[in-house]
């Protein structure tokens, strides 16, 4: 029996020494995990993504109201659907953003527009629907001008086009327009202008010069800068013409972010930090 105890003691000793040695190595990552959990950058990214998504939805709702002139009942239905569905339906987009380090990879705008459009079918009248479809097509037209313009600029550099050739190329690209081009543009890239499309307007000398694209295209990343996405605090309900989503629908908040100044309700007292804001909001 004594020997058995000796064996057990031996094993315990070995285990203790191993733990002590390995523990020195293991302690660092464990501490690191603990620190990261406290300042998790993903929490910030998730928070930002949600604010942007809500901002885009609120802007879209405002535009619908301006174009279609919704009744109070229609507004109530719309804001309620928005409050219930915004997070669940856009979870993939939000998660994609949280997991990447590049905002360009996630096109919040187009996803929000598609989602909001799907809410409108049971709400809008036929007349309102026609107005909204007209608005959406005008928006797409404007976007097409920009993307096609960028593609023409790229071709100008690549093939040495004249101003007349640039004008001639525009309708060629518009004829070949695909909606996926807008998504490519929003993801930070540009659709490829195929040589076969451009060759028709090139001179013989320009055609001989070929299409050495790969050697002359350089993509790199830069960080920081202003961005154009609107944001809406998670604590503010969607609102149109003074009508908000019903109180029974719970708001989505990230617990760790609840005390952020930007999430404070609009009618709350400003946080002390706001006093030092270098760009204070002007009084009405």
């Amino acid at each position: 029996m004594n020997r058995s105890r000796l064996i057990v003691l031996t094993l315990i000793t070995i285990a203790t020494i191993h733990t002590a040695v390995l523990g020195q190595v293991a302690a660092v990552p464990i501490r690191a995990i603990a620190v990261n959990a406290a300042n998790d950058p993903n929490l910030d990214r998730e928070h930002n993504a949600k604010r942007w998504v809500r901002g885009l939805i609120q802007n879209e709702l405002n535009t619908i109201q301006a174009v279609c002139g919704l009744s109070p009942e229609q507004i109530q239905k719309l804001v309620d659907i928005a409050e219930v569905q915004w997070r669940t339906k856009l979870l993939t987009a939000i998660r994609s953003y949280v997991e990447s380090n590049n905002r360009n990879n996630v096109d919040f705008e187009q996803r929000v527009e598609k989602l909001v459009n799907s809410w409108l079918d049971p709400i809008l009248t036929t007349e309102q629907r026609a107005k909204w479809d007209d608005e959406v097509s005008s928006r797409l037209e404007f976007r097409r001008r920009v993307v096609v313009g960028k593609m023409v600029m790229e071709s100008e550099k690549r093939h040495g086009l004249t101003s007349q050739q640039m004008k001639d190329l525009e309708p060629i690209l518009i004829d070949r327009w695909r909606d996926s081009w807008w998504a490519m543009y929003r993801s930070g890239s540009l659709p490829e202008t195929k040589y076969s499309w451009v060759s028709a307007i090139l001179s013989e000398a320009q055609q001989t010069n070929g299409n050495e694209r790969a050697a002359n295209r350089n993509e790199h990343y830069t960080s920081g800068g202003s961005h154009e996405l609107p944001s809406r605090p998670l604590s503010e309900r969607f609102e149109l013409n003074g009508i908000t989503s019903v109180e029974s629908i719970p708001l989505d908040k990230i617990k760790e972010q609840e005390n952020r100044p930007e999430d404070a309700p609009a009618n709350a007292d400003p946080a002390p930090a706001d006093k030092d804001d270098p760009n204070p909001a002007e009084p009405e």
Partner: protein, 302 residues
């Protein structure tokens, strides 16, 4: 008569017990100390010398052989050789000598093709201009070699910076021409040769076409900014059209989002109220949000 001892068939359990019997005690002790020694080795070794690992994050950085301490002067010296200097210079000009040659010739060809379409040039003139461009690039390469032959191979940080400035001064005009295209082209020798051979009408046609292309690029840039403001404020078609018109009056203020936002914020309140809803006006009072996220930048060179 002594009865023979029965043959003992040891079961596994029994064999284990047997191991720990007195006659194995010495062996057990040796095994114990051996295990103890193995266990302690890492901790002892850690004190004396670090255990080599595949990735050792705490390892001291290995000094770049190109940078060594000058023990006498105490200044940090940089060791270079001709190959490193050449790599550095051509790295600024597109990668290597062959890439530079290829890109430079291509740029000249593209420009001549365009000019040929705009105002027409003779084949003789074209050949002459191309020969000038070729000479110009050969001269640059010769100048680079001459400069690098004079380059010190062991130099302080300040000497390195000074010499880099000399290199930069030499290659900067070519680098600008290759990256920025038309804007810097007029400084090139081949372009000057071409201009002297063209009549006034042809020169005017070239200038006008360049202005139209610049205007096209600025227009697209302006529309892109209007699109961004539309997204930020949630504008509808009428509001966007108004903004489009407004931005045409001062297109230079609409070449990027920050400038456009500041321009809009600075507009008279009455004007803003006539265009935007109260919600949008509130948004317009806020500064633009910034992000640390990565943004893709696409540069297409001729």
């Amino acid at each position: 008569m002594r009865t023979p001892e029965p043959i003992r068939v040891l079961t596994r359990k029994r064999r284990c017990q047997h191991f720990f019997e007195a006659k194995y005690c010495g062996l057990q002790a040796i095994a114990f100390f051996l295990l103890l020694a193995i266990s302690c080795t890492p901790s002892i070794a850690q004190d004396k010398a670090k255990i080599p690992r595949a990735i050792d994050r705490e390892r001291e950085a290995v000094e770049d052989p190109a940078e060594i301490d000058d023990k006498q002067g105490g200044d940090r010296l940089i060791e270079m050789d001709r190959g490193r200097w050449i790599d550095m210079v051509y790295g600024q000009l597109g990668g290597n000598e062959a890439t530079f040659d290829q890109t430079y010739r291509r740029r000249v060809r593209l420009a001549l093709n365009r000019i040929e379409l705009i105002c027409g040039i003779s084949e003789t003139l074209r050949e002459k201009v191309q020969a000038t461009a070729e000479l110009e690039s050969q001269r640059l390469k010769a100048d680079i070699l001459t400069l690098i032959n004079d380059a010190p191979l062991r130099l302080t940080q300040k000497q390195y910076s000074d010499f880099y400035q000399r290199i930069w001064k030499l290659i900067q005009p070519y680098q600008s021409r290759m990256n920025q295209g038309n804007n810097q082209e007029s400084e090139a020798l081949w372009r000057k040769v071409l201009t002297t051979q063209l009549d006034e009408k042809q020169q005017k046609q070239i200038t006008e076409d360049a202005a139209k292309r610049t205007a096209y690029r600025e227009e697209v840039q302006r529309l892109e900014t209007v699109l961004k403001i539309t997204r930020r404020l949630g504008l509808n078609r009428d509001q966007r059209n108004n903004l489009d018109k407004q931005s045409q009056t001062h297109p230079n203020n609409w070449q990027n989002l920050d400038m456009a936002w500041n321009t809009l914020q600075a507009l008279p309140d009455a004007e803003k109220r006539s265009w935007f809803t109260p919600f949008q006006l509130e948004q317009l009072k806020k500064p633009l949000e910034t992000t640390n996220d990565l943004q893709v930048v696409i540069v297409v060179e001729e």
